[in-house]
């Protein structure tokens, strides 16, 4: 098992402390809410697509550090990308977090987002990292709300019981 300390790297702590692109977006044309009912993570992601390219993007909400840093880094990475390029990142991020993509050996476009690769060893935290990316997918496809507990969610797994 990877050292969980490795997950709380400075870059993640920094994005948690000073989240980038944080706040509401008045002129968004795509928006979605993401929410994990089991742990209470809740974020809203808004963006404007101009000619199929993400012009501006912002998020806000209440969540753990992993989720907040993931959302913050999502916004900096997705800004300027086309919808298809964003969807590639969504897929690759999810595959990395669930252990289906080994970023050390396989080709990918994740760049510094690989700091989140450590969550694959922490099953209860995988959803925290993935939630913003699910929400981005929902926003791009203009589904209003996404949840890590929905039937379509490939990561469906309970966080815990009493």
């Amino acid at each position: 098992m990877a050292d969980p300390k490795a997950l709380y790297q400075e870059v993640i702590l920094d994005h948690n402390r000073k989240p980038r692109n944080y706040g509401a977006l008045a002129d968004a044309n795509h928006k979605a809410e993401g929410h994990n009912p089991l742990c209470g993570d809740h974020i809203t992601l808004a963006l404007r697509l101009d000619d199929d390219r993400v012009g501006v993007i912002a998020f806000e909400g209440e969540s753990c550090a992993i989720c907040k840093a993931s959302a913050s880094m999502l916004t900096t990475n997705v800004k300027g990308k086309t919808r298809d390029e964003a969807e590639v990142l969504i897929r690759e991020f999810r595959d990395m977090a669930t252990g289906q993509l080994d970023t050390a050996t396989a080709a990918h476009h994740l760049g510094r987002l690989t700091v989140f690769s450590g969550v694959r060893d922490l099953p209860t935290r995988v959803k925290c990292a993935i939630l913003p990316w699910h929400t981005l997918h929902a926003a791009l496809n203009s589904a209003g709300e996404t949840s890590t507990e929905s039937d379509q969610d490939p990561m469906h797994a309970p966080i815990g019981d009493a």
């Binding site: 098992m1 050292d3 969980p4 300390k5 997950l7 709380y8 702590l13 948690n16 089991l38 742990c39 209470g40 809740h42 209440e62 969540s63 753990c64 550090a65 992993i66 922490l122 209860t124 935290r125 925290c128 966080i159 815990g160 019981d161 009493a162």
Partner: protein
């Protein structure tokens, strides 16, 4: 020395936590290279060797289906199963063994009362009183019933310290009040509720009371005759027993008038396609082959706890709680939720600027197991306006040194997030 500390000192002289710990193989485990510090006992406690041995002996020497065969093994298994029922009856001081029903745990016990009592005796416009402190398992079944019958749920509020507002409770009663469901001890905050007086108040108005004892039975001596509750429920796995077993105590007169919860074998006297005659209590409520091994294991766990003594257990746990509360109160930026005067060994806390799930992951790195989340008590979280808390919950096998490890762990979390 006041009388409380004198009592604790006496109990302590006979209690050696190192000897106790030697009975729990799992406590030798290393997690993330560190000795396990298991502080998630309110979720589930660990099993001592005598209970493990009892389960093994049952499977190796005594297993067969119960209440059915005339052969040696069936009779042996039946005797052991019923002996466990007797142990549980004595543990809660029930008048009669037939007042003890084996269930899969507290959740099933409450569902049994909802189906067996609620669906028969609660109707449209009737009211059920619950409290803000309830675990979801003592909320959801009653909501299901209310939805089905057109009944109404009334909720007892709590104070800022996490204590039930008993005056408000008393004001909720009216002629439509038909049932009260109360937690004996809050799982999220550790508050010990004044259930005896609240039960007497309900009874004076002819209203039956169910006590959810899931968090009380591991920490307090339970006397259902003294409490005078109609129903008392708890789970075996929080009492050093196996999962999948628990009990419902019910006053015989109530159990007799209730309808069965599940239909099947063992709960009948005779079956034809025209008519089935139900078995007597407790068997009326025990359809199908029970988790016999788990029931017998729970009996062994009761023996183990009784040998130590519930008062001795309570006194050691309160010492741990007092010490932990004082230590955590000394940490700037850490807030304890649940500061009731009368508490069991639960310490729920939030660290300013750090989400409980990050706390839990970082503590785990120090080998410390705590629960993080809403503790299946979302109304409590809503009351304190937090999404979740971290919860350290102590058992009699925990040590002061483990509390020190927890406090150091919290300091480390604060350092990482500084």
């Amino acid at each position: 020395m006041n009388s409380t500390s004198a009592k604790r000192a006496v109990a302590k002289s006979a209690f050696n936590v190192d000897t106790i710990r030697a009975d729990f193989p799992i406590l030798d485990l290393k997690v993330a290279g560190k000795p396990l510090v298991y502080l998630d006992n309110a979720a589930s406690s660990q099993m001592p060797q005598p209970v493990i041995d009892r389960l093994v002996r049952y499977q190796k020497e005594q297993h067969a289906n119960i209440h059915r065969g005339v052969h040696y093994l069936s009779e042996t298994a039946t005797a052991a199963f019923e002996e466990a029922r007797g142990k549980l009856a004595r543990f809660v001081n029930a008048r009669e063994e037939r007042e003890v029903i084996f269930t899969s745990g507290t959740t099933e016990s409450i569902n049994l009362v909802m189906h067996g009592y609620g669906r028969k005796f609660i109707g449209a416009g009737d009211e059920i009183i619950l409290t803000t402190l309830e675990h979801h398992s003592n909320i959801v079944p009653w909501q299901m019933l209310a939805g089905e019958k057109g009944a109404k749920i009334r909720v007892v509020p709590i104070s800022d310290s996490g204590e039930l507002l008993v005056d408000e409770y008393e004001k909720l009663f009216n002629e439509r009040t038909k049932f009260v469901g109360l937690s004996h001890v809050s799982n999220a905050l550790g508050t010990v509720n004044p259930v005896k007086g609240m039960t007497a108040f309900a009874h004076a108005r002819g209203v039956p009371v169910l006590l959810d004892g899931a968090q009380a039975a591991p920490h307090l001596a339970i006397d259902v005759q003294d409490l005078d509750c109609d129903f008392y429920a708890f789970s075996g796995h929080k009492l050093c027993g196996p999962t999948g077993i628990g009990m419902l105590y019910g006053k015989a007169a109530q159990l007799e008038r209730m309808q069965p919860f599940k239909g099947g074998g063992d709960m009948i006297l005779s079956v034809t396609f025209e008519k089935t005659t139900y078995n007597t209590i407790p068997h009326k409520f025990e359809a199908g082959t029970p988790p016999t091994a788990a029931a017998i294991g729970l009996g062994a766990a009761i023996d183990y706890l009784s040998n130590i003594g519930m008062d001795t257990i309570a006194s050691h746990e309160l010492e741990l709680l007092d010490y932990a509360t004082a230590q955590v109160n000394n940490l700037p930026g850490v807030r304890i939720l649940g500061t009731a005067e009368h508490k069991a060994a639960v310490l729920s806390f939030v660290i300013a600027g750090v989400h409980p799930h990050d706390v839990g992951t970082l503590l785990n790195q120090d080998g410390i197991a705590v629960r993080t989340g809403h503790h299946c008590a979302q109304p409590v979280m809503q009351r304190f306006k937090v999404p979740a808390t971290s919860r350290a919950s102590f058992a009699f096998y925990n040590t002061m040194a483990e509390v020190d490890t927890l406090v150091a762990g919290i300091r480390n979390v604060q350092k990482v997030f500084a």
